[in-house]
Amino acid sequence: MPFIPHTPLDQQQMLEVIGAPDIEALFDEIPKGLRAEKLNQIPAGISEMALGQMMNRRARQDEVDLCFLGAGAYNHHIPAAIWDLVARGEFMTAYTPYQAEASQGTLQLIYEFQTMISRLTAMEVANASVYDGATALAEAMLMAVRANKRNRSKRILVAGNIHPQYLETCRTIVKPQGLTLDVLDYDPRTGRVDLDSDRVQDAAALAVSYPNFFGGLDPVDRLTDIASAAGALVIGVVNPTALALLKPPGHWGENGADIVVGEGQPLGIPMASGGPYLGLMCCKKQIVRQMPGRIIGRTVDQRNRPGYTLTLQAREQHIRRGKATSNICTNQGLLVTAATLYLSLMGNEGLRQVALQSHAGLKNLVGQATAIPGVQARFEGPVFHEQVLELPVLAEVVVRKMAERGIVPGFDLGVVDAGLDHCLLVNVTETKTGEDIDAFISCLNAVIQSEMSPC
């Protein structure tokens, strides 16, 4: 019995205390006709060794040599110390810190995390995580509608250059509550959005992504000022690594963004097929009572020693049930631990160097790629560590052919927009060396050559 410690003697003694003849008797309140058959569709148990051998094979099967995919998940270096510590039983096998006295480790850590994230974004408060970047944005929209006192609208204006899967997620989550998403087209030349005051009139909020899905940088100061002036709240969707170099949303325009969300994955969390990741969420203090998710506060104990505890719980489902700000309960605690360790290990300069080196790598790649005849940057203007290349052949073909040679070159934008079917979204992080980029270029070159050659 893997993981079940009972000896035959234990079992007998326990049944005696209960006064039941056998374990079967303990299920005698279940209507007879409902009792299940054996679980025949599940194969017999295997040893940890056999499991390891099988999973090793499967994991190996999926490996590629080089991957230049970004599009919302980024392959940064993860310092060795992080997961050694995150995987400590004390972090990994604890529950949500309901008993504060027995959970000061996790609670203090989250308080530190809240501090780090609110400083990085220049926002007043941060919560203890929601599921991922996309659901964070959905929660931000719901929150904005609740929080916007100047404007009772349920219309959210969304920049059209936001990650398309964020948009899909938001649709799923906010539609049942009657919100409408009004998508702002982006300028086909720059890939950026602009806004006039008319459009934003009577919207509950404006959501912009920084960088946007194409890696570009929208005019966030201007967008923020126009939206605020019209009474809409501003929701910023940010990449936390980028904020080491970019203007933090708390400082956008005159008053800064009102709610900030983002995907915390770049902060020490492996790409791991898309999760578990870490939804970041911050806001101005005045609307904190509309924020979903757990929030840790510092207080004192009976001997006046500082201590940390779940606070503002009256926003949450376990207290307020149907009146809660969200149904979220379990969140991404362990990933908060990873991100906190990451930010602590990197410090200001470490994070800045990651961002700088990623940016430099992208410039190198784009510079070399656009020297290939027929390849050009699709959009103008500044970018951060990700950019759209327009190719002389279908992006889908380039992705397939390069992947066959062990290099996944980026994201085929044709998947999300037929008009961009010659466009490849390419990301470079600090993990890519000069040789890696050279390998990308020569592989791209070869594939384009072979596709373009007559017959």
Partner: protein
């Protein structure tokens, strides 16, 4: 001491610097007005300080790996390290979520098989793995109920029924899905009040959400009658599968008549709880809701050596849609898959058996030690409730006092004051991975605390005494909000 209090301006943990020095000038030019002008605001500590600080912080936590953790409704059982190890293989960790299908076959094989196992375990027809926790699974489920009625043009169904013992996520979910909530009372035996239910159902009923076993720690015996009542009224039945551990391999929600459910893999499938997550809340559905399942899912070509591909909105045009940027908490799914393989069908069946054995043994032992069970005439399921009303009245020692004092004895406290309908309650769930000796130790600690409550109650009411802090001032926490460290405030 906070990590920020260890920070010193100008200190650098350089092993993590990727030597991007010298690019600074260029970046200002590249970014122009976008360049950050303010401090990034992170602590500046050495690698040793980081390691030491967080190692020491971790030591302030209780955890399965250190303590018995009988937190009712939370299923805190052993999280096999073998499952963690295989999910952490470089090939899985380095896989980008948007990698081409050709480079994803190993991963998708695991997911496809897991979908099938979960169908078998629940008796449902189809499963989507994408919800990222129980509450998101609930959202997906109730959104599917909404989509089902909408598709049929049955738009007057605006109400979701919820028994009063339900977990807070149930009503919160119903509201998130645009429904109003109506609570149904529970009888003194812990069963749903069937008459009240009958009175409540009607043309506005979109569905009923319930768990079975309920959070009262008993199996709802009238489940078939409840299903009939709701179905007859045109509503659908949602099963909150957070408590699946109790009945794993014993009885299947699909057979009980439920149309849709979620499971908490971070409970029943032993993936670690991580101090607050991540979780994973797959949904399973009966025939009527299959078209509405959230995407993506994994489809198979079938045959001897199948190939797998993602099913998305093109394949499932009626889907409620996507619930996350990528594919939910993939790593948790791998752990759950590994767990299912380690145990196999027979092993999963035993989980239900021994979880139930442990709970019934513990309940009976506590009763013999003088405690009052909330439902003494009922079998415990995987958990049960002790009520300390008597002790609260006679000695002034509350359920919370017992909970805090247990910490001093080296046991994590059970769930307190939930479900709300039982006064001064402890909801206790030992799980199948704990030994008789551990359970006996807990029972004897409870008995000792009972004795303390008689002879020196203040020892109990001022507990804990052996932890890094004593009870916290929660009122101050909410009143003088301090949610982020500030050096100035310290000065």
């Amino acid at each position: 001491m906070l990590i920020y209090e260890r920070s010193r301006a100008g200190r650098q943990a350089r092993a993590q610097y990727v030597s991007a020095k010298g690019l600074d000038g260029q970046i200002a030019e590249d970014l122009g007005e976008h360049l950050r002008q303010s401090e990034v605001g992170l602590p500046e500590v050495s690698e040793l300080e980081t390691v030491r600080h967080y190692t020491n912080l971790s030591a302030k936590n209780f955890a399965i790996d250190r303590q018995f953790y009988p937190l009712g409704s939370c299923t805190m059982k052993y999280n096999p390290r073998g499952a963690h190890q295989v999910a952490s293989l470089p090939g899985f960790l380095n896989r980008h979520p948007l990698a081409p299908d050709a480079n994803s076959q190993g991963y998708m094989a695991c997911l496809f098989e897991l979908q099938n196992y979960l169908k078998e375990v629940t008796g449902m027809q189809a499963v989507s793995l994408t919800p990222m926790a129980g509450a998101q699974g609930e959202f997906a489920g109730v959104a599917m109920i909404r989509a089902y009625h909408a598709k049929r043009g049955d738009v007057q169904r605006t109400e979701i029924l919820v028994p009063e013992a339900a977990h807070g996520t149930n009503p919160a979910t119903a509201v998130m899905c645009g429904f109003t909530v109506r609570e149904i009372p529970v009888t003194n035996d812990g069963d749903v009040d069937l008459e009240a239910l009958k009175a409540a159902v009607g043309p506005a009923t979109a569905g009923l959400m319930m768990t079975n076993p309920s959070t009262c720690g008993v199996f709802e015996r009238q489940v078939q009658a409840i299903a009939e009542t709701v179905h007859d009224a045109g509503g659908l039945l949602y099963y909150d599968g957070a408590n699946l551990n109790a009945i794993l391999g014993q009885v299947r929600p699909g057979d009980m008549g439920f149309d849709v459910l979620h499971m908490n893999l971070h409970k029943t499938f032993a993936t670690p709880h991580g101090g607050g997550g991540p979780g994973s809340g797959p949904v399973g559905v009966g025939p009527r809701l299959v078209p509405f399942l959230p995407t993506p899912m994994v489809g198979s070509s079938g045959g001897e050596s199948p190939t797998y591909r993602w099913l998305d909105h093109k394949d499932c045009p009626d889907s409620i849609g996507r619930l996350s940027c990528f594919m939910g908490n993939a790593g948790i799914l791998l752990r759950a898959y590994a767990y299912a393989r380690l145990l196999g069908g027979e092993g999963l069946h035993r989980v239900g058996e021994y979880a139930t054995l442990n709970a019934n043994y513990m309940a009976k032992s506590l009763e013999q030690a003088g405690f009052t069970l909330a439902y003494p005439t009922r079998r415990a399921t995987h958990e049960f409730i002790v009520s300390l009303s008597k002790e609260a009245k006679n000695q002034g020692v509350t359920a919370m006092d017992f909970a805090k004092r247990l910490l001093d004895y080296g046991f994590h406290a059970p769930t307190t004051y939930f479900p709300l309908l039982v006064p001064e309650c402890l909801l206790i769930e030992p799980t199948e991975t704990e030994s008789k000796a551990e359970i006996d130790g807990f029972v004897s600690a409870m008995a000792q605390i009972l004795e303390e409550a008689r002879v020196e109650p203040e020892r109990v009411t001022t507990a804990p005494h052996t932890l890094p802090i004593s009870r916290l001032d929660d009122v101050k926490a909410a009143r003088d909000l301090d949610l982020a460290f500030s050096e100035v405030a310290e000065g």
